[in-house]
Protein backbone atom coordinates (compact mmCIF):
# COMPACT_ATOMS: atom_id res chain seq x y z
CA UNK A 1 0.00 0.00 0.00
CA UNK A 2 2.81 2.36 0.70
CA UNK A 3 4.03 2.10 -2.83
CA UNK A 4 0.65 2.77 -4.30
CA UNK A 5 0.37 6.26 -5.55
CA UNK A 6 -2.74 8.25 -6.12
CA UNK A 7 -2.67 10.62 -8.99
CA UNK A 8 -3.61 14.20 -8.40
CA UNK A 9 -7.17 15.17 -8.98
CA UNK A 10 -7.75 17.17 -12.09
CA UNK A 11 -11.13 18.69 -11.51
CA UNK A 12 -12.23 20.25 -8.31
CA UNK A 13 -15.59 19.32 -6.95
CA UNK A 14 -17.78 22.34 -6.81
CA UNK A 15 -20.47 21.62 -4.29
CA UNK A 16 -19.90 22.07 -0.62
CA UNK A 17 -20.84 19.08 1.51
CA UNK A 18 -23.18 21.08 3.61
CA UNK A 19 -24.93 18.22 5.30
CA UNK A 20 -21.67 16.57 6.18
CA UNK A 21 -20.34 19.72 7.79
CA UNK A 22 -23.46 20.34 9.76
CA UNK A 23 -23.50 16.81 11.07
CA UNK A 24 -19.84 17.02 11.97
CA UNK A 25 -20.28 20.08 14.07
CA UNK A 26 -23.51 18.81 15.56
CA UNK A 27 -21.85 15.61 16.63
CA UNK A 28 -18.90 17.32 18.20
CA UNK A 29 -20.84 20.13 19.82
CA UNK A 30 -24.49 19.28 20.08
CA UNK A 31 -25.26 22.31 22.17
CA UNK A 32 -23.98 24.67 19.53
CA UNK A 33 -26.49 26.17 17.13
CA UNK A 34 -25.51 27.08 13.64
CA UNK A 35 -26.89 29.87 11.59
CA UNK A 36 -28.27 28.95 8.18
CA UNK A 37 -25.37 29.91 5.96
CA UNK A 38 -22.55 29.10 8.30
CA UNK A 39 -21.67 25.76 6.80
CA UNK A 40 -20.70 27.44 3.58
CA UNK A 41 -18.28 29.65 5.42
CA UNK A 42 -16.91 26.63 7.20
CA UNK A 43 -16.42 25.03 3.84
CA UNK A 44 -14.55 28.10 2.70
CA UNK A 45 -12.38 27.86 5.75
CA UNK A 46 -11.65 24.22 5.01
CA UNK A 47 -10.69 25.01 1.46
CA UNK A 48 -8.33 27.69 2.59
CA UNK A 49 -6.80 25.43 5.17
CA UNK A 50 -6.29 22.70 2.62
CA UNK A 51 -4.82 25.15 0.22
CA UNK A 52 -2.25 26.29 2.72
CA UNK A 53 -1.58 22.74 3.75
CA UNK A 54 -1.06 21.65 0.18
CA UNK A 55 1.33 24.48 -0.48
CA UNK A 56 3.33 23.65 2.57
CA UNK A 57 3.34 19.96 1.77
CA UNK A 58 4.54 20.59 -1.73
CA UNK A 59 7.33 22.74 -0.41
CA UNK A 60 8.34 20.03 2.00
CA UNK A 61 8.35 17.46 -0.77
CA UNK A 62 10.50 19.67 -2.95
CA UNK A 63 12.88 20.24 -0.12
CA UNK A 64 13.28 16.50 0.21
CA UNK A 65 13.69 16.29 -3.54
CA UNK A 66 10.87 13.88 -4.05
CA UNK A 67 8.19 14.07 -6.66
CA UNK A 68 5.61 12.33 -4.57
CA UNK A 69 4.02 13.51 -1.40
CA UNK A 70 4.70 11.27 1.52
CA UNK A 71 3.54 11.01 5.09
CA UNK A 72 6.36 12.85 6.60
CA UNK A 73 5.86 15.78 4.33
CA UNK A 74 2.31 16.09 5.34
CA UNK A 75 3.03 15.75 9.00
CA UNK A 76 5.72 18.35 8.89
CA UNK A 77 3.51 20.69 7.00
CA UNK A 78 0.55 20.06 9.24
CA UNK A 79 2.53 21.05 12.26
CA UNK A 80 3.03 24.47 10.84
CA UNK A 81 -0.34 25.01 9.36
CA UNK A 82 -2.35 23.72 12.25
CA UNK A 83 -0.51 26.06 14.48
CA UNK A 84 -1.40 28.85 12.13
CA UNK A 85 -5.02 27.81 11.96
CA UNK A 86 -5.42 27.72 15.66
CA UNK A 87 -7.29 30.98 15.96
Amino acid sequence: MAAAVVAAARVLKRKAPRGFLRNLIKRRKPQLHLKSGIDLWVHLNCLLFLHRLAEETRMQAFQNKSRIIKDKHIIAAAKVILKKSRG
Binding site: V5, A7, A16, R67, D71, K84
Partner: protein
Amino acid sequence: MAFLSENEGTTRTLLHHVLETQPLSSPVSSNTRQSKRSLSTSMGHPRRNLRDPPSRTLLSKQTKTVPAQPKDTGADGQLFVEHYDFLEEGTPRILLKKILQTASEASVLVPSLMNSQEPEPVELQEESKWNSLELQLPELEPSVTVAPGLLMHNRKKRCLRVSEFEQEVDQGLAVASDLTERQPASANKSSVTRSFNLTLATVRPPESIERPGLARRPPNRKAIDVEAFEQRLKDIPLTPLPGPRKQTKSGTKSPSQNTPLSTSSLSAGTRSRPWTGTSSQNSCFSARSLPARSSISREARAKSGVAHQVEEEEERLMDEEARESEEDTEILQSTVVSELSMKTPEFLRAKRYHSLLQPTSPVPPNTNTTLLPSKLTQAKRAPKRRAPGPRQPRDPDKVGLNNYCKVFSFYAKTPMEKSASETLMKCLNQYFRTLCDDLETFAHHAGRKTVLLADLELLMRRQGLVTDDISLYVLVERYLPLEYRRLLIPCAASGNAVFPAG
Protein backbone atom coordinates in the same frame (compact mmCIF):
# COMPACT_ATOMS: atom_id res chain seq x y z
CA MET B 1 -51.96 80.65 -64.26
CA ALA B 2 -52.48 77.01 -64.91
CA PHE B 3 -49.25 76.31 -63.28
CA LEU B 4 -50.28 78.32 -60.35
CA SER B 5 -53.62 76.64 -60.04
CA GLU B 6 -51.92 73.32 -59.86
CA ASN B 7 -49.57 74.38 -57.20
CA GLU B 8 -52.04 76.22 -55.18
CA GLY B 9 -52.75 73.32 -52.89
CA THR B 10 -49.18 72.42 -52.14
CA THR B 11 -47.56 73.49 -49.00
CA ARG B 12 -44.31 73.74 -50.69
CA THR B 13 -45.22 76.47 -53.03
CA LEU B 14 -46.91 78.46 -50.37
CA LEU B 15 -43.99 78.16 -48.05
CA HIS B 16 -41.68 78.97 -50.84
CA HIS B 17 -43.55 82.09 -51.51
CA VAL B 18 -43.62 82.97 -47.87
CA LEU B 19 -39.94 82.47 -47.64
CA GLU B 20 -39.41 84.74 -50.54
CA THR B 21 -41.64 87.42 -49.23
CA GLN B 22 -40.11 87.23 -45.80
CA PRO B 23 -37.12 89.39 -45.13
CA LEU B 24 -33.72 87.92 -44.54
CA SER B 25 -32.36 87.18 -41.07
CA SER B 26 -30.41 90.35 -40.84
CA PRO B 27 -32.86 92.93 -39.71
CA VAL B 28 -30.99 96.03 -40.62
CA SER B 29 -30.43 95.49 -44.25
CA SER B 30 -33.03 97.49 -46.01
CA ASN B 31 -31.28 96.79 -49.23
CA THR B 32 -31.88 93.15 -48.89
CA ARG B 33 -35.43 93.82 -48.14
CA GLN B 34 -35.67 95.84 -51.21
CA SER B 35 -33.99 93.12 -53.14
CA LYS B 36 -36.39 90.64 -51.74
CA ARG B 37 -39.22 92.81 -52.73
CA SER B 38 -37.84 93.06 -56.17
CA LEU B 39 -37.45 89.37 -56.26
CA SER B 40 -40.93 88.89 -55.15
CA THR B 41 -42.18 91.28 -57.72
CA SER B 42 -40.14 89.62 -60.35
CA MET B 43 -41.48 86.22 -59.42
CA GLY B 44 -44.65 86.89 -61.15
CA HIS B 45 -47.27 89.42 -60.65
CA PRO B 46 -50.18 87.17 -61.13
CA ARG B 47 -48.73 84.75 -58.72
CA ARG B 48 -48.22 87.43 -56.26
CA ASN B 49 -51.72 88.54 -56.60
CA LEU B 50 -53.00 85.16 -55.72
CA ARG B 51 -50.61 84.75 -52.95
CA ASP B 52 -51.07 88.11 -51.48
CA PRO B 53 -54.12 87.40 -49.39
CA PRO B 54 -52.56 84.40 -47.69
CA SER B 55 -49.24 86.08 -47.21
CA ARG B 56 -50.81 89.20 -45.89
CA THR B 57 -52.96 87.32 -43.55
CA LEU B 58 -49.90 85.53 -42.46
CA LEU B 59 -48.04 88.70 -41.91
CA SER B 60 -50.90 90.28 -40.15
CA LYS B 61 -51.06 87.44 -37.78
CA GLN B 62 -47.43 87.61 -37.12
CA THR B 63 -47.33 91.17 -36.29
CA LYS B 64 -50.47 91.00 -34.24
CA THR B 65 -50.53 94.70 -34.28
CA VAL B 66 -52.49 95.09 -37.42
CA PRO B 67 -55.76 93.29 -37.69
CA ALA B 68 -56.15 90.85 -40.45
CA GLN B 69 -57.06 92.64 -43.57
CA PRO B 70 -57.28 90.62 -46.64
CA LYS B 71 -56.40 92.01 -49.92
CA ASP B 72 -54.27 94.87 -48.85
CA THR B 73 -52.23 96.79 -51.24
CA GLY B 74 -48.74 95.83 -52.03
CA ALA B 75 -47.32 98.68 -50.06
CA ASP B 76 -49.10 97.68 -46.97
CA GLY B 77 -47.81 94.21 -47.35
CA GLN B 78 -44.35 95.53 -47.48
CA LEU B 79 -44.91 97.59 -44.43
CA PHE B 80 -46.06 94.52 -42.70
CA VAL B 81 -42.99 92.86 -43.90
CA GLU B 82 -40.90 95.49 -42.27
CA HIS B 83 -42.80 95.17 -39.09
CA TYR B 84 -42.35 91.54 -39.10
CA ASP B 85 -38.76 91.90 -39.87
CA PHE B 86 -38.11 93.93 -36.80
CA LEU B 87 -40.02 91.64 -34.55
CA GLU B 88 -38.61 88.32 -35.65
CA GLU B 89 -35.06 87.70 -36.59
CA GLY B 90 -35.26 85.08 -39.17
CA THR B 91 -36.43 82.13 -37.15
CA PRO B 92 -39.60 81.74 -39.15
CA ARG B 93 -37.58 81.65 -42.27
CA ILE B 94 -35.45 78.83 -41.05
CA LEU B 95 -38.43 77.00 -39.73
CA LEU B 96 -40.31 77.35 -42.93
CA LYS B 97 -37.34 76.13 -44.82
CA LYS B 98 -37.27 73.11 -42.62
CA ILE B 99 -40.90 72.54 -43.26
CA LEU B 100 -40.25 72.69 -46.92
CA GLN B 101 -37.71 70.01 -46.50
CA THR B 102 -39.90 67.81 -44.45
CA ALA B 103 -43.18 68.31 -46.17
CA SER B 104 -43.66 65.89 -48.97
CA GLU B 105 -44.89 67.12 -52.24
CA ALA B 106 -47.65 64.61 -52.39
CA SER B 107 -49.56 66.03 -49.51
CA VAL B 108 -52.40 67.96 -50.90
CA LEU B 109 -54.80 68.32 -48.08
CA VAL B 110 -54.04 69.86 -44.81
CA PRO B 111 -56.61 69.36 -42.11
CA SER B 112 -58.17 72.47 -40.90
CA LEU B 113 -56.50 72.05 -37.63
CA MET B 114 -55.60 75.59 -37.42
CA ASN B 115 -58.61 76.82 -39.16
CA SER B 116 -60.54 77.82 -36.16
CA GLN B 117 -58.44 80.84 -35.54
CA GLU B 118 -59.13 82.68 -38.70
CA PRO B 119 -62.46 84.13 -39.41
CA GLU B 120 -61.38 85.11 -42.85
CA PRO B 121 -63.33 84.19 -45.85
CA VAL B 122 -62.09 81.12 -47.50
CA GLU B 123 -62.04 81.03 -51.23
CA LEU B 124 -61.03 77.45 -51.39
CA GLN B 125 -61.13 75.00 -48.62
CA GLU B 126 -57.58 74.11 -49.27
CA GLU B 127 -56.45 77.65 -49.26
CA SER B 128 -57.97 78.22 -45.90
CA LYS B 129 -56.08 75.24 -44.72
CA TRP B 130 -52.95 76.69 -46.06
CA ASN B 131 -53.73 79.85 -44.26
CA SER B 132 -54.19 78.06 -41.08
CA LEU B 133 -51.00 76.21 -41.60
CA GLU B 134 -49.11 79.35 -42.32
CA LEU B 135 -50.64 81.15 -39.46
CA GLN B 136 -49.86 78.30 -37.25
CA LEU B 137 -46.21 78.32 -37.99
CA PRO B 138 -45.54 81.91 -37.20
CA GLU B 139 -47.61 81.63 -34.10
CA LEU B 140 -45.34 78.99 -32.91
CA GLU B 141 -42.35 81.06 -33.57
CA PRO B 142 -42.84 83.67 -30.91
CA SER B 143 -43.31 80.92 -28.45
CA VAL B 144 -40.04 79.45 -29.51
CA THR B 145 -36.85 81.15 -28.53
CA VAL B 146 -33.97 81.48 -30.83
CA ALA B 147 -32.01 78.79 -29.06
CA PRO B 148 -31.07 76.10 -31.52
CA GLY B 149 -32.05 73.34 -29.18
CA LEU B 150 -35.59 74.55 -29.10
CA LEU B 151 -35.46 75.05 -32.79
CA MET B 152 -34.69 71.45 -33.12
CA HIS B 153 -37.56 70.66 -30.85
CA ASN B 154 -39.82 72.81 -32.88
CA ARG B 155 -38.64 71.16 -35.99
CA LYS B 156 -39.55 67.84 -34.59
CA LYS B 157 -42.97 69.07 -33.70
CA ARG B 158 -43.41 70.39 -37.13
CA CYS B 159 -42.29 67.18 -38.67
CA LEU B 160 -44.68 65.29 -36.54
CA ARG B 161 -47.55 67.45 -37.38
CA VAL B 162 -47.02 67.20 -41.05
CA SER B 163 -46.72 63.48 -40.96
CA GLU B 164 -49.78 63.33 -38.85
CA PHE B 165 -51.58 65.39 -41.37
CA GLU B 166 -50.65 62.93 -43.97
CA GLN B 167 -51.91 60.11 -41.88
CA GLU B 168 -55.15 61.85 -41.38
CA VAL B 169 -55.38 62.48 -45.03
CA ASP B 170 -55.14 58.83 -45.58
CA GLN B 171 -57.87 58.18 -43.14
CA GLY B 172 -60.10 60.68 -44.77
CA LEU B 173 -61.50 64.03 -44.12
CA ALA B 174 -63.71 62.69 -41.41
CA VAL B 175 -60.68 62.53 -39.29
CA ALA B 176 -59.82 66.05 -40.14
CA SER B 177 -63.20 67.16 -39.02
CA ASP B 178 -62.57 65.54 -35.71
CA LEU B 179 -59.36 67.34 -35.40
CA THR B 180 -60.94 70.67 -35.97
CA GLU B 181 -62.81 70.26 -32.77
CA ARG B 182 -59.65 70.09 -30.82
CA GLN B 183 -57.95 73.01 -29.27
CA PRO B 184 -55.59 74.64 -31.63
CA ALA B 185 -53.16 75.32 -28.84
CA SER B 186 -49.78 75.34 -30.31
CA ALA B 187 -47.91 73.22 -27.86
CA ASN B 188 -50.64 70.71 -27.39
CA LYS B 189 -51.39 70.01 -30.93
CA SER B 190 -48.72 67.57 -31.64
CA SER B 191 -49.42 65.64 -28.50
CA VAL B 192 -53.13 65.72 -29.18
CA THR B 193 -52.77 64.43 -32.66
CA ARG B 194 -50.34 61.95 -31.43
CA SER B 195 -52.74 60.75 -28.82
CA PHE B 196 -55.45 60.66 -31.40
CA ASN B 197 -53.32 58.47 -33.51
CA LEU B 198 -52.63 56.29 -30.60
CA THR B 199 -56.28 55.85 -29.80
CA LEU B 200 -56.83 54.73 -33.29
CA ALA B 201 -54.51 51.83 -32.75
CA THR B 202 -56.20 48.63 -31.83
CA VAL B 203 -55.96 47.62 -28.25
CA ARG B 204 -54.11 44.42 -27.73
CA PRO B 205 -56.13 41.78 -26.04
CA PRO B 206 -54.89 40.79 -22.64
CA GLU B 207 -52.17 38.30 -22.63
CA SER B 208 -54.21 35.64 -21.01
CA ILE B 209 -56.48 35.49 -24.00
CA GLU B 210 -53.64 35.46 -26.41
CA ARG B 211 -51.68 32.82 -24.61
CA PRO B 212 -54.05 30.54 -22.83
CA GLY B 213 -51.20 28.41 -21.66
CA LEU B 214 -50.15 31.08 -19.23
CA ALA B 215 -53.50 31.15 -17.52
CA ARG B 216 -53.55 29.95 -13.99
CA ARG B 217 -54.06 26.30 -13.65
CA PRO B 218 -55.67 24.68 -10.69
CA PRO B 219 -53.14 23.31 -8.31
CA ASN B 220 -52.08 19.78 -8.86
CA ARG B 221 -52.65 17.41 -6.10
CA LYS B 222 -51.27 14.34 -7.68
CA ALA B 223 -48.14 14.13 -5.64
CA ILE B 224 -50.02 13.41 -2.50
CA ASP B 225 -52.15 10.87 -4.22
CA VAL B 226 -49.07 8.86 -4.98
CA GLU B 227 -48.18 8.96 -1.38
CA ALA B 228 -51.64 7.86 -0.57
CA PHE B 229 -51.30 5.00 -2.92
CA GLU B 230 -48.11 3.90 -1.29
CA GLN B 231 -49.72 4.29 2.02
CA ARG B 232 -52.53 2.06 0.97
CA LEU B 233 -50.13 -0.60 -0.05
CA LYS B 234 -48.56 -0.42 3.31
CA ASP B 235 -51.88 -0.26 5.00
CA ILE B 236 -53.23 -3.40 3.60
CA PRO B 237 -51.72 -6.01 5.85
CA LEU B 238 -51.68 -3.93 8.94
CA THR B 239 -55.20 -2.60 8.60
CA PRO B 240 -54.55 0.74 9.34
CA LEU B 241 -56.54 3.42 10.10
CA PRO B 242 -57.71 5.98 7.70
CA GLY B 243 -60.95 6.22 9.55
CA PRO B 244 -59.70 6.80 13.02
CA ARG B 245 -57.03 9.11 11.73
CA LYS B 246 -59.70 11.30 10.35
CA GLN B 247 -61.44 11.30 13.62
CA THR B 248 -58.48 11.97 15.78
CA LYS B 249 -55.82 14.07 14.23
CA SER B 250 -53.46 13.70 17.08
CA GLY B 251 -49.78 14.40 17.02
CA THR B 252 -48.18 12.10 14.58
CA LYS B 253 -44.77 11.60 16.03
CA SER B 254 -45.74 10.92 19.55
CA PRO B 255 -45.16 7.36 20.74
CA SER B 256 -48.36 7.38 22.62
CA GLN B 257 -50.24 6.33 19.59
CA ASN B 258 -50.57 2.80 20.63
CA THR B 259 -53.74 3.40 22.49
CA PRO B 260 -55.44 5.00 19.53
CA LEU B 261 -54.07 2.11 17.55
CA SER B 262 -55.77 -0.43 19.66
CA THR B 263 -59.02 1.44 19.80
CA SER B 264 -59.06 2.09 16.13
CA SER B 265 -58.07 -1.38 15.09
CA LEU B 266 -61.57 -2.55 15.71
CA SER B 267 -63.14 0.23 13.79
CA ALA B 268 -60.58 -0.18 11.07
CA GLY B 269 -61.68 -3.68 10.48
CA THR B 270 -65.23 -2.63 9.92
CA ARG B 271 -64.35 0.43 7.97
CA SER B 272 -61.95 -1.28 5.68
CA ARG B 273 -64.76 -3.06 3.96
CA PRO B 274 -66.83 -0.13 2.87
CA TRP B 275 -63.64 1.69 2.09
CA THR B 276 -62.49 -0.89 -0.41
CA GLY B 277 -65.82 -1.37 -2.02
CA THR B 278 -65.26 -4.60 -3.89
CA SER B 279 -66.21 -8.01 -2.76
CA SER B 280 -62.89 -9.56 -3.57
CA GLN B 281 -61.23 -6.85 -1.63
CA ASN B 282 -63.41 -7.50 1.30
CA SER B 283 -62.14 -10.97 1.63
CA CYS B 284 -58.59 -9.83 1.37
CA PHE B 285 -59.05 -7.09 3.85
CA SER B 286 -60.85 -9.20 6.29
CA ALA B 287 -58.06 -11.68 6.04
CA ARG B 288 -55.53 -8.97 6.55
CA SER B 289 -57.30 -7.39 9.37
CA LEU B 290 -56.78 -10.47 11.46
CA PRO B 291 -53.03 -10.48 11.31
CA ALA B 292 -53.10 -6.75 11.76
CA ARG B 293 -55.10 -7.02 14.89
CA SER B 294 -52.88 -9.71 16.14
CA SER B 295 -49.85 -7.61 15.35
CA ILE B 296 -51.32 -4.64 17.11
CA SER B 297 -52.12 -6.66 20.14
CA ARG B 298 -48.69 -8.10 20.04
CA GLU B 299 -47.27 -4.69 19.88
CA ALA B 300 -49.29 -3.64 22.81
CA ARG B 301 -47.83 -6.57 24.66
CA ALA B 302 -44.38 -5.95 23.42
CA LYS B 303 -44.53 -2.36 24.45
CA SER B 304 -43.80 -3.38 27.93
CA GLY B 305 -40.76 -5.36 26.88
CA VAL B 306 -38.83 -3.18 24.54
CA ALA B 307 -38.25 -5.71 21.82
CA HIS B 308 -36.04 -4.91 18.95
CA GLN B 309 -38.39 -5.98 16.24
CA VAL B 310 -41.43 -4.45 17.80
CA GLU B 311 -39.79 -1.13 17.95
CA GLU B 312 -39.25 -1.37 14.30
CA GLU B 313 -42.85 -2.17 13.64
CA GLU B 314 -43.99 0.54 15.92
CA GLU B 315 -41.82 2.96 14.20
CA ARG B 316 -43.17 1.83 10.93
CA LEU B 317 -46.69 2.17 12.14
CA MET B 318 -45.98 5.57 13.50
CA ASP B 319 -44.53 6.59 10.22
CA GLU B 320 -47.54 5.22 8.50
CA GLU B 321 -49.80 7.14 10.76
CA ALA B 322 -47.84 10.20 10.04
CA ARG B 323 -48.39 9.62 6.39
CA GLU B 324 -52.03 8.89 6.94
CA SER B 325 -52.65 12.06 8.80
CA GLU B 326 -51.04 13.90 5.98
CA GLU B 327 -53.29 12.27 3.50
CA ASP B 328 -56.48 12.64 5.41
CA THR B 329 -57.32 15.78 3.65
CA GLU B 330 -57.13 14.02 0.32
CA ILE B 331 -59.97 12.03 -1.08
CA LEU B 332 -58.37 8.76 -1.88
CA GLN B 333 -59.40 6.79 -4.82
CA SER B 334 -60.05 3.44 -3.43
CA THR B 335 -60.29 1.77 -6.78
CA VAL B 336 -56.75 2.63 -7.65
CA VAL B 337 -55.55 1.43 -4.36
CA SER B 338 -57.59 -1.66 -4.54
CA GLU B 339 -56.12 -2.57 -7.88
CA LEU B 340 -52.65 -2.19 -6.61
CA SER B 341 -53.40 -3.99 -3.47
CA MET B 342 -54.56 -6.83 -5.56
CA LYS B 343 -51.16 -7.03 -7.09
CA THR B 344 -49.43 -7.33 -3.81
CA PRO B 345 -51.80 -9.34 -1.85
CA GLU B 346 -50.47 -12.82 -1.65
CA PHE B 347 -46.78 -12.72 -1.48
CA LEU B 348 -46.47 -9.47 0.36
CA ARG B 349 -49.14 -10.36 2.76
CA ALA B 350 -47.42 -13.60 3.41
CA LYS B 351 -44.13 -11.86 3.90
CA ARG B 352 -45.48 -9.26 6.21
CA TYR B 353 -47.40 -11.76 8.19
CA HIS B 354 -44.29 -13.81 8.40
CA SER B 355 -42.25 -10.93 9.61
CA LEU B 356 -44.84 -9.92 12.10
CA LEU B 357 -45.14 -13.37 13.46
CA GLN B 358 -41.44 -13.67 13.85
CA PRO B 359 -40.31 -10.78 15.90
CA THR B 360 -36.87 -12.19 16.31
CA SER B 361 -35.99 -12.16 12.67
CA PRO B 362 -33.54 -9.39 12.11
CA VAL B 363 -34.24 -9.08 8.42
CA PRO B 364 -36.66 -6.32 7.69
CA PRO B 365 -39.60 -7.26 5.54
CA ASN B 366 -38.94 -6.89 1.88
CA THR B 367 -41.45 -4.21 1.54
CA ASN B 368 -39.53 -2.41 -1.06
CA THR B 369 -42.67 -1.68 -2.91
CA THR B 370 -43.85 0.35 0.01
CA LEU B 371 -41.33 2.80 0.31
CA LEU B 372 -40.93 5.79 2.43
CA PRO B 373 -41.65 4.47 5.89
CA SER B 374 -39.72 1.28 5.38
CA LYS B 375 -36.72 3.11 4.07
CA LEU B 376 -36.66 5.38 7.03
CA THR B 377 -36.77 2.50 9.41
CA GLN B 378 -34.06 0.74 7.52
CA ALA B 379 -31.90 3.78 7.74
CA LYS B 380 -32.47 3.88 11.43
CA ARG B 381 -31.76 0.22 11.64
CA ALA B 382 -28.50 0.37 9.79
CA PRO B 383 -26.22 1.69 12.52
CA LYS B 384 -27.76 -0.48 15.15
CA ARG B 385 -27.92 -3.66 13.29
CA ARG B 386 -24.50 -3.58 11.66
CA ALA B 387 -21.73 -5.59 13.20
CA PRO B 388 -19.27 -3.51 15.21
CA GLY B 389 -17.26 -2.11 12.33
CA PRO B 390 -15.29 1.10 12.49
CA ARG B 391 -16.22 3.62 15.10
CA GLN B 392 -19.24 5.67 14.41
CA PRO B 393 -17.64 9.08 13.96
CA ARG B 394 -15.24 7.61 11.47
CA ASP B 395 -17.83 5.98 9.32
CA PRO B 396 -19.73 8.96 8.03
CA ASP B 397 -16.62 11.06 8.19
CA LYS B 398 -14.72 9.02 5.71
CA VAL B 399 -17.06 9.78 2.88
CA GLY B 400 -17.03 13.45 3.59
CA LEU B 401 -13.35 13.67 4.27
CA ASN B 402 -12.52 11.88 1.06
CA ASN B 403 -14.06 14.88 -0.52
CA TYR B 404 -11.50 17.08 1.11
CA CYS B 405 -8.69 14.70 0.31
CA LYS B 406 -9.46 15.17 -3.33
CA VAL B 407 -9.42 18.90 -2.81
CA PHE B 408 -6.02 18.58 -1.22
CA SER B 409 -4.63 16.56 -4.05
CA PHE B 410 -6.00 19.10 -6.48
CA TYR B 411 -4.29 21.91 -4.71
CA ALA B 412 -1.06 19.96 -4.33
CA LYS B 413 -0.89 19.03 -8.00
CA THR B 414 1.60 16.30 -7.26
CA PRO B 415 0.75 12.68 -6.76
CA MET B 416 0.33 11.38 -3.28
CA GLU B 417 0.83 8.07 -1.58
CA LYS B 418 -2.11 6.26 -0.20
CA SER B 419 -0.68 6.24 3.28
CA ALA B 420 -0.37 9.93 2.98
CA SER B 421 -4.10 10.25 2.54
CA GLU B 422 -4.60 8.48 5.87
CA THR B 423 -2.39 11.06 7.47
CA LEU B 424 -4.31 13.71 5.74
CA MET B 425 -7.54 12.44 7.22
CA LYS B 426 -6.03 12.65 10.65
CA CYS B 427 -4.94 16.19 10.00
CA LEU B 428 -8.40 17.11 8.87
CA ASN B 429 -9.94 15.59 11.93
CA GLN B 430 -7.64 17.59 14.10
CA TYR B 431 -8.47 20.67 12.15
CA PHE B 432 -12.19 20.22 12.50
CA ARG B 433 -11.81 19.65 16.18
CA THR B 434 -10.01 22.89 16.69
CA LEU B 435 -12.44 24.64 14.40
CA CYS B 436 -15.45 23.60 16.42
CA ASP B 437 -13.74 24.56 19.65
CA ASP B 438 -12.85 27.94 18.32
CA LEU B 439 -16.33 28.63 17.04
CA GLU B 440 -17.84 27.67 20.32
CA THR B 441 -15.42 29.88 22.17
CA PHE B 442 -16.16 32.83 20.00
CA ALA B 443 -19.89 32.39 20.24
CA HIS B 444 -19.69 32.04 23.95
CA HIS B 445 -17.53 35.10 24.20
CA ALA B 446 -20.21 37.04 22.40
CA GLY B 447 -22.80 35.69 24.80
CA ARG B 448 -24.48 33.70 22.09
CA LYS B 449 -25.38 30.11 21.57
CA THR B 450 -25.49 30.38 17.83
CA VAL B 451 -22.53 30.63 15.59
CA LEU B 452 -22.83 33.64 13.35
CA LEU B 453 -20.90 34.99 10.47
CA ALA B 454 -19.05 37.33 12.76
CA ASP B 455 -17.57 34.39 14.58
CA LEU B 456 -16.25 32.91 11.40
CA GLU B 457 -14.86 36.19 10.29
CA LEU B 458 -13.02 36.55 13.55
CA LEU B 459 -11.68 33.05 13.17
CA MET B 460 -10.36 33.75 9.73
CA ARG B 461 -8.86 36.96 10.86
CA ARG B 462 -7.00 35.22 13.64
CA GLN B 463 -5.86 32.58 11.22
CA GLY B 464 -4.39 35.25 9.06
CA LEU B 465 -6.58 34.53 6.10
CA VAL B 466 -8.51 37.76 6.28
CA THR B 467 -6.38 40.85 6.55
CA ASP B 468 -6.83 44.50 5.94
CA ASP B 469 -5.91 43.93 2.34
CA ILE B 470 -7.93 40.83 1.76
CA SER B 471 -11.52 40.95 2.76
CA LEU B 472 -13.84 38.09 3.47
CA TYR B 473 -15.75 38.44 0.26
CA VAL B 474 -12.64 38.43 -1.85
CA LEU B 475 -11.92 34.99 -0.54
CA VAL B 476 -15.41 33.92 -1.39
CA GLU B 477 -14.90 35.06 -4.90
CA ARG B 478 -11.59 33.32 -5.22
CA TYR B 479 -12.30 29.95 -3.80
CA LEU B 480 -15.94 29.23 -3.98
CA PRO B 481 -17.92 28.52 -7.11
CA LEU B 482 -20.08 31.18 -8.60
CA GLU B 483 -23.33 29.92 -7.21
CA TYR B 484 -22.26 30.51 -3.67
CA ARG B 485 -21.45 34.11 -4.20
CA ARG B 486 -25.07 35.02 -4.32
CA LEU B 487 -25.68 33.20 -1.09
CA LEU B 488 -22.72 34.50 0.80
CA ILE B 489 -22.03 38.01 -0.36
CA PRO B 490 -24.75 40.42 0.65
CA CYS B 491 -26.10 42.36 -2.26
CA ALA B 492 -28.39 45.30 -2.21
CA ALA B 493 -31.66 44.61 -3.91
CA SER B 494 -34.47 46.95 -4.74
CA GLY B 495 -36.81 48.08 -2.08
CA ASN B 496 -34.11 48.79 0.46
CA ALA B 497 -33.53 45.13 1.00
CA VAL B 498 -30.25 43.32 1.33
CA PHE B 499 -29.91 39.71 0.39
CA PRO B 500 -28.90 37.60 2.18
CA ALA B 501 -30.34 39.24 5.21
CA GLY B 502 -27.45 40.56 7.20
